[in-house]
């Protein structure tokens, strides 16, 4: 089931925009993650698709059918809440069959058919023996799967998940994540998932929709987001980021920090910021440079704190012998931003510094 959202906006009391002109297309069979910090409007968008929070203006289509005025009951979307919202007075089996039990007599399957469906779903969520248990007895991971089975019982083709892994411990999270992805592929679902955890999103989804302050900032797959983030926020949201302010002049990016080598770029002249991941640098011995010392180690990687005069930054590199003396930083690749927008248009918005290093004269300190 495809989902099409056009110019969706939602005001809350006080005039605040919680959704600001949001447009999104989720094709049939896609697995999309809505990511962003809390308050970005992810859950509101998800609830608007389900019809739980009415939009102030805009248009929602599910499977080519306009949703305006259609109550949530008739949208047939599967929704898993962050707190699971299981009915605690019903057994697991009755929780799962709830969506079938409430159907009018004419369209309700027979008792035997419902029981068969419940057994099938219990097997699918790998809890075949817990049909008679009450939700209180289940662990967080089990409750989550029961909530999912309940959402799937009525056979929706669109699954909406609100922070489905939020309440799970890290070990279970990974397992449930993989299982959920398999389920999505196996049942041919279209899934939209809300999370504030970018790593989780990168793991499980085909596409990430990054939201901030009620707007979609960028909508792309993980690789594209990392290579060409639309704003410094996207870059920072997706992982640890080092920011180097500077200027572009005569085809060279000249950092403001001491002990950082300039590199060539085809960005326009002017104030520019270079954003890099901590591993996108190399160290070069430089008698006039700053001190570097190891501050941590994880597996084959080590972290070094490098002093840049005014401040110090932490970089990451494969473990090797500690530098014997002062060092300078050479940025291997960077995304350049001017006024919060990418500085370089086109297919290669980052600058490859390695090619010009030989020509670069280190900044005098």
């Amino acid at each position: 089931m495809s989902v099409l959202i056009e110019n969706l906006a939602r005001h809350v009391a006080g005039g605040k925009l919680v959704l600001d002109d949001v447009s999104l297309h989720v094709p049939d069979g896609a697995f999309v993650a809505l990511v962003g910090p809390s308050g970005a409007g992810k859950t509101t968008l998800l609830r608007a698709i389900a019809g739980l929070d009415p939009a102030s203006s805009g248009h929602v289509e599910i499977d080519g059918r306009a949703m305006e005025g259609l109550p949530p009951r008739e949208r047939n979307v599967g929704f898993v809440f962050q707190n699971y919202a299981l009915f605690r007075h019903l057994t697991v089996a009755r929780n799962i069959s709830f969506g079938l039990d409430v159907r009018p007599r004419t369209s309700r399957p027979s008792r035997a058919e419902i029981d068969a469906k419940v057994a099938e779903l219990l097997a699918l969520i790998q809890l075949p023996d817990l049909g008679d248990a009450y939700p209180q007895r289940l662990s967080g991971g089990q409750r989550q799967r029961v909530a999912l089975a309940r959402a799937l019982a009525t056979g929706p083709r669109l699954l909406l998940l609100d922070e489905p892994f939020g309440a799970l411990d890290p070990m279970v999270r990974r397992a449930v994540r993989t299982w959920l992805r398999d389920l999505h592929d196996q049942l041919g679902l279209t899934t939209i998932l809300v999370t504030h955890d970018q790593e989780e999103a990168l793991d499980v989804a085909d596409r990430l929709v990054v939201m901030q302050d009620g707007r979609i900032v960028q909508d792309a797959d993980g690789e594209t987001l990392d290579a060409t983030p639309a704003t410094p926020f996207v870059m920072e949201f997706l992982g640890e980021t080092l920011r180097f302010p500077g200027v572009v002049s005569d085809g060279l990016f000249i950092p403001a920090d001491a002990h950082v080598s300039p590199f060539s770029t085809n960005a326009a002249e002017g104030a520019t910021e270079a954003l890099i991941r901590p591993h996108e640098v190399t160290l070069r011995a430089d008698a006039a440079g700053g001190a570097a010392k190891r501050v941590g180690r994880r597996g084959p990687l080590e972290r070094l704190a490098v002093s840049l005069g005014e401040r110090s930054v932490e970089i990451e590199r494969p473990v090797e012998a500690p530098p014997s003396g002062p060092v300078a930083l050479e940025i291997a690749q960077a995304r350049l931003f001017q006024n919060g927008k990418p500085a370089v248009e086109g297919n290669h918005p980052w600058s490859d510094a390695s090619a010009v290093l030989a020509d670069v004269v280190p900044e005098p300190v």
């Binding site: 109550p71 949530p72 929704f79 707190n83 409430v102 159907r103 248990a133 009450y134 209180q136 959402a151």
Partner: protein
């Protein structure tokens, strides 16, 4: 290692001090609290009840025997209990809807409604009685159109029920409201997304979870209904054997200076109410247990 060395001297010094006191006192001041509670309960509740239980027998068993043979008293008891049950039952759906509206919706004037609900607690019951009697009298705002339809509320059991519903409603609302506030609204949203209609959500999702609170509220409204006097006597008409309530009969006996007879009725009323409330409490316990049942044991 560090921890144990720092802890051991403290433990050593604490041990002799604890020796004098009762070793297993979990709370400081436990005895004081227990003593105050018992004294309080004894003075306020148990002492008057004991006096009530003793009084009818002070002039021999004859007063009690006379009361037990009095058809008028049993008629009054029946009127009291019947109207209290009917009023409490009718209050249940009303109270549930009101509580739901207060908790789940953003009604304009919600605070005013919230304050209005408690009003029956605050108004002197006699004022309530006179107000209701005026309202439902054959010339009243509600009484006139109703009497044209052939329904007479004032001076009948219907009037008693109307008055008891008025005083009982806040008990239901205030019992249900906090429990409902604790229920995540996602429960109702999940149900509606699964295709449940509003009445199915009330019947299948809300009522089972709210049942203990509903029963509690019912018990309170019912108890208040049995004991209610001021708001009822003006509207009831007070015809013996038809619309005379038990508390009124107590007053009638008192006015006849028949103290033994009055306390006999009061004592029977007390025993009957206690039995009813015990039944309600048991029912609530059962309903609450159903919610946390660990499978079909």
């Amino acid at each position: 290692m560090n921890l144990s060395t720092t802890l051991s001297p403290a433990r050593g010094s604490a041990a002799p001090r604890a020796k004098g006191r009762r070793a297993r006192d979990p709370l400081p001041g436990f005895r004081l609290a227990l003593g105050a509670t018992l004294l309080w309960l004894g003075l306020i509740v148990v002492l008057p009840l004991a006096a009530l239980a003793v009084r009818p027998w002070q002039e021999g068993a004859s007063a009690m025997l006379a009361a037990l043979n009095d058809g008028r008293m049993f008629a009054a008891l029946r009127v009291s209990f019947q109207s209290a049950v009917i009023a409490a039952i009718l209050d249940l759906p009303l109270g549930l809807i009101l509580a739901w509206a207060l908790v789940r919706t953003r009604l304009p004037g919600r605070r005013v409604i919230d304050a209005l609900i408690d009003l029956p607690f605050a108004i002197p019951t006699a004022v309530t009685g006179i107000t209701l009697a005026t309202l439902y009298s054959p010339q009243g705002w509600l009484g006139a159109p109703l009497s044209r339809l052939g329904i007479s509320v004032a001076y009948s059991v219907t009037g008693i029920v109307a008055a008891l519903m008025f005083v009982g409603l806040p008990f239901i609302v205030r019992s249900v409201e906090p429990v409902l506030r604790d229920l995540p609204p996602e429960l109702e949203e999940a149900a509606t997304l699964l295709g449940a209609r509003p009445w199915q959500i009330v019947a299948r999702v809300l009522t089972p979870v709210l049942l203990p609170a509903l029963i509690s509220g019912f018990g309170l409204a019912f108890a208040r209904g049995i004991g209610e006097y001021g708001s009822v006597i003006f509207i009831a008409g007070n015809q013996p054997f038809r619309s005379e309530i038990a508390p009124l009969l107590v007053v009638v006996r008192l006015q006849e200076f028949d103290y033994a007879g009055a306390t006999s009725i009061a004592f029977i009323l007390l025993v009957a109410s206690s039995a009813c409330l015990a039944a309600v409490a048991m029912l609530r316990k059962r309903a609450a247990r159903g919610l946390v049942a660990e499978g079909a044991a």
